[in-house]
């Protein structure tokens, strides 16, 4: 699990961990049933306080993203988290914002942009 912690941007570290794990789950980089690193291991890897990692895991558990199994570890929830679809759409919305902004900057109409998206989709499908 690759996380990137950046102090200085004002977002508490536990929240950065929560957001990035949500992103990894939402984007399919972490799959249901996959085990998250133990708190101590992740704390040492990121060089952050273990209490911070514990708080992030507790928050992820409350949100239904991960499940703690008694006496073993922390796993990505089976059959996806309740937030999974919403999270996925949120990720896409951010990408879409950037795309729409760029299209506006390049003076490309939204209908043309949608055509480009459909065209790229077709091109990708023909490769698969």
């Amino acid at each position: 699990m690759q996380l990137h912690i950046s102090p200085k941007d004002g977002v508490p570290i536990y929240r950065q961990i929560v957001n990035q794990v949500k992103y990894l789950v939402g984007s399919g980089r972490l799959v249901p049933g996959e085990e998250l690193p133990p708190i101590r291991v992740l704390a040492e890897q990121l060089v952050v306080n273990p209490n911070t990692v514990a708080r992030a895991y507790a928050e992820l558990e409350r949100a239904g993203i991960v499940t703690k199994r008694h006496g073993s570890g922390t796993y990505v929830s089976d059959n996806g988290s309740p937030l999974k679809r919403a999270e996925r759409l949120k990720i896409l919305a951010q990408r879409a914002d950037a795309l729409v902004a760029e299209a506006r900057h390049l003076e490309v109409e939204i209908s043309e942009l949608l055509d480009v998206v459909r065209e790229r989709h077709r091109a990708m499908q023909s490769k698969e």
């Binding site: 912690i5 200085k8 977002v11 508490p12 570290i13 704390a43 040492e44 306080n49 209490n51």
Partner: protein
């Protein structure tokens, strides 16, 4: 594992400081400092040079006696009962005052003699991990090796409380990371408490649960790190016409800007601030998180400007040398 059962109850703060003041001649080095450090916590003390961090640490170690106010460590007075306190404390000083004529293995044997709880296997593990040559003379060690040797002898008796004064001062990013990793591992050992001072804010942000910011002997802000970050934010205001003077908002710590747009670093209730902005005839065009750097500069800068003896440039250095390699 250290099986030494602490004499104080688990709910008792490991360090309890109340209204502590200290004067050196005419200079007030500590001004009514109050703070508690709970068991298992990593407590970060931030402040520019001369803010009083080292003086506070000397009181914790019993090297200075409280002039007024009180200070208890493990519910003991460290001046009256130095052995009872120091046997449970590991300490790394900023100047690493280690005996230069000793070899690394001699330093380890020498320090061991002071600690009944010494864990020789752990000491050897740390020595290997830190890549310290047992036959090397202390005075020939590099700055990084010296810091690691100091940390080794501070850790090997598995102290309940680890006190570090500027642990990464003058170290390169690689050694700094090793020092931080050692702190993280120490906390991961059940029940251990760390109190450390630093002027490197991103180091404090990575490893502490709670922090206190000091300026001119006073604690200007303390609390849980995440609460501090979440309760401070930056609002960018836009005015229909340029205000004649910088806008005044209750709860504003720092106002910057010019012309129509002004950014205010705030700590306070969002709803009330939003209402106050409307009363000023402005609107909020952006709200962003405030970084610990910005909070520190706003809090400490303010403190400096209200004191009788300001040192304008000194506090700025606190954030200039934050290591990018740690990101």
């Amino acid at each position: 594992m250290n099986m030494n059962i602490p004499a104080s109850s688990p709910n008792q703060p490991v360090i309890a400081i109340s209204d502590l003041s200290r004067r050196f001649k005419s200079k007030l080095a500590l001004d009514s400092v109050s703070l508690n450090v709970e068991r298992g916590q990593v407590f970060g003390l931030v402040g520019a040079n001369g803010a009083g961090k080292t003086t506070l640490i000397k009181h914790i170690l019993g090297l200075l006696k409280a002039e007024s106010g009180s200070l208890r460590v493990f519910d003991l007075d460290p001046v009256a009962e130095p052995v009872a306190v120091l046997s449970r404390v590991g300490f790394l000083s900023e100047d690493r005052d280690l005996p230069g004529w000793m070899r690394v293995d001699e330093l380890i044997r020498y320090t061991r003699a002071f600690h009944a709880e010494w864990d020789a296997a752990y000491a050897e593990q740390l020595r290997g991990q830190f890549q310290l040559d047992p036959a090397a003379r202390i005075k020939q060690l590099s700055r990084g090796e010296l810091a690691k040797a100091g940390l080794l002898v501070a850790l090997a008796h598995r102290p309940e409380l680890l006190v570090l004064d500027e642990p990464s001062s003058g170290l390169d990013p690689i050694v700094r990371r090793e020092m931080l990793e050692a702190i993280v591992r120490t906390v991961a050992d059940e029940g251990r408490t760390v109190f450390f001072s630093s002027h490197l804010l991103d180091e404090i942000e990575r490893v502490s649960d709670r922090l206190a910011m000091m300026a001119c002997g006073r604690v200007v802000l303390q609390g849980r790190l995440d609460e501090i970050l979440e309760s401070h934010f930056r609002l960018t205001l836009r005015f229909p016409t340029p205000p004649p003077t910088p806008p005044k908002l209750a709860g504003a710590l720092l106002v910057t800007g010019s012309g129509l747009e002004w950014t205010v670093l705030c700590n306070g209730a969002r709803a009330e601030l939003a209402a106050a902005v409307v009363r000023l005839g402005a609107r909020i065009v952006d709200e962003t998180a405030a970084s610990l750097d910005e909070i520190f500069l706003a809090r400490v800068g303010r403190e400096r400007s209200t004191t009788a003896n300001p040192q304008p440039a000194a506090w700025q250095e606190a954030t200039l040398d934050t290591p990018d390699a740690m990101k």
